[in-house]
């Protein structure tokens, strides 16, 4: 198999990896916001349940969680899991990453001076206006480096989808490497993840620069 054929057959894998990446961000970023609000809830029951949730998400391997999400419905409820592969992956990734994002958001929110809330209250802003106009923009600036870290980890973690035999980049690399007894697919995979993360770092740096006008 020539190099270009290898690259072509791995192309679909790259697209699938990108699909996992973007769908996970799409769901996990806002979901993390919700988890953060529950984690900061005044109600101790809600707060503690959320704490346990975050502890499980961060304390067990994502690979194991993916297996649970995919096979769980069959073993627990006898449901058919045909065609459920991609949804299980996206649910598993989103739910897992939302726990990490929630904690990043929480750190950002708690770093904002309480005086900002008081000033907004005195000026008559509603709670929603205070959050979206005054607090959130400052939080985004504070948490950007941590979010970058997490997003870079996500790029590499997409390879865990191979556990559910989803033909993304990494699964295909393994298959082709085995069938062709060649090491090249792994090199291609490595270069792919590296370039993807280079782009992520570049974009995030641009956003950081754009928010550099104040401190």
């Amino acid at each position: 198999m020539s190099f270009s054929t290898m690259l072509a057959s791995m192309g679909m894998g790259m697209l699938r990896s990108c699909l996992i990446f973007f769908l996970t961000l799409l769901f996990a970023l806002p979901l993390g916001m919700g988890v953060m609000f529950l984690r900061r809830s005044g109600n101790p029951v809600i707060r503690n349940i959320t704490k346990i949730y975050i502890a499980i998400m961060r304390g067990t391997p994502l690979m194991l969680q993916l297996l649970m999400w995919y096979f769980g419905p069959y073993y627990l409820f006898g449901m058919s899991i045909r065609g459920y592969r991609l949804p299980a992956i996206i649910i598993g990734f989103s739910v897992n990453y939302s726990a990490y994002f929630a904690e990043i958001y929480r750190g950002g929110i708690e770093s904002i001076d309480h005086g900002q809330y008081e000033a907004a209250e005195i000026l008559g802003y509603t709670k929603a206006q205070t959050f979206f106009k005054i607090i959130l923009p400052q939080v985004i600036k504070v948490i950007l480096p941590s979010v970058t870290n997490e997003v870079i980890t996500l790029v590499k973690d997409t390879s865990l989808a191979f556990t559910l035999a989803y033909n993304e980049m990494f699964s295909l690399a393994k298959q082709i490497a085995a069938s062709q007894t060649s090491f090249t697919p792994f090199i291609i995979a490595g270069v792919f993840y590296f370039i993807a993360n280079y782009v992520v770092a570049f974009v995030m740096e641009r956003i950081e620069k754009a928010l550099d006008y104040y401190h």
Partner: protein, 252 residues
């Protein structure tokens, strides 16, 4: 009467910070509150501006009741809508400015009138520029708070409070976070407002300023008003030993 506070009590846990405080502010008055640290001055201001909730007592703005206390001794605030309406009567300038760092100077001043009061942008902009001129900061309209000195930040904060056209403006130690050489420019602005008959309550440690600008001085200690009156009477020859002691310590 713009503000009336009667029999205010406030505790933090077991600590009684305000013990039965009553005072009022008339239109055009400049009231200075002085006293040692921990006397309850700032807490009184925070209760007046609803940043803290009182345990008992009564607060009225422009004869509109914000809090009352029934026979059971529990303070009851009016509903949220009414309270929000009452909040429009006052502004507060903080010790630490609390400007919004991600907004330019102009936006800091304009945003609340536009977002909260829903006033037309162009009208608000003209007023904001006028306020900046008054503060001597017209050239810094596009600057961000991090590019300003402490004195400039505090003047922007004053402009921001004035942009909402409050009936009464509170100052919580407006110069305490400033380098000594920067306090003058802020005090000058407050003095100018006093000349324009702006109603103000100023918690301060600047005794010469309080003496020169106030129409009335309140001396607080350990959660009570020890003495209040004409600044010359309080600073000149107070008959109260505790006040005398405090002022003597200050002159040293």
């Amino acid at each position: 009467m713009i503000l009336e506070m009667n029999s205010i009590q406030k505790s933090f846990g077991d600590l009684e910070v305000l013990k039965d405080i009553s005072f009022h502010v008339d239109e055009g008055e400049v009231v200075s509150i002085i006293g040692p640290s921990g006397s309850g001055k700032s807490t009184l201001l925070r209760c007046a501006t609803f940043l803290e909730t009182i345990n008992a007592g009564e607060i009225k703005y422009m004869d509109q009741t914000a809090v009352t206390t029934g026979d059971d001794g529990v303070a009851r605030y009016v509903g949220r809508n009414e309270l929000n309406q009452i909040k429009r009567y006052f502004g507060l300038v903080f010790q630490n400015f609390n400007l919004f760092p991600h907004y330019s100077v102009l936006k800091n001043i304009m945003d609340a009138p536009v977002t909260v009061q829903k006033r037309p942008v162009e009208e608000v902009r003209a007023e904001a520029m006028e306020l900046l001129r008054k503060m001597g900061l017209e050239t810094r309209a596009e600057a961000y708070p991090c590019q300003l000195s402490g004195g400039q930040k505090q003047r922007v904060a004053i402009a921001r409070a004035l942009a909402l056209k409050p009936n009464i403006l509170f100052f919580d130690e407006p110069t305490s976070a400033l380098d000594p050489e920067l306090t003058g420019e802020v005090l000058k602005v407050i003095r100018q407002l006093a000349e324009e008959k702006m109603t103000m309550v100023v918690v301060t440690h600047e005794m010469p300023f309080a003496r020169a600008v106030s129409s009335r001085v309140i001396f607080m200690d350990q959660g009570v008003i020890v003495e209040q009156g004409d600044p010359e009477a309080v600073f000149g020859d107070t008959q109260v030993e505790r006040t005398r002691q405090f002022l003597r310590n200050y002159q040293r």
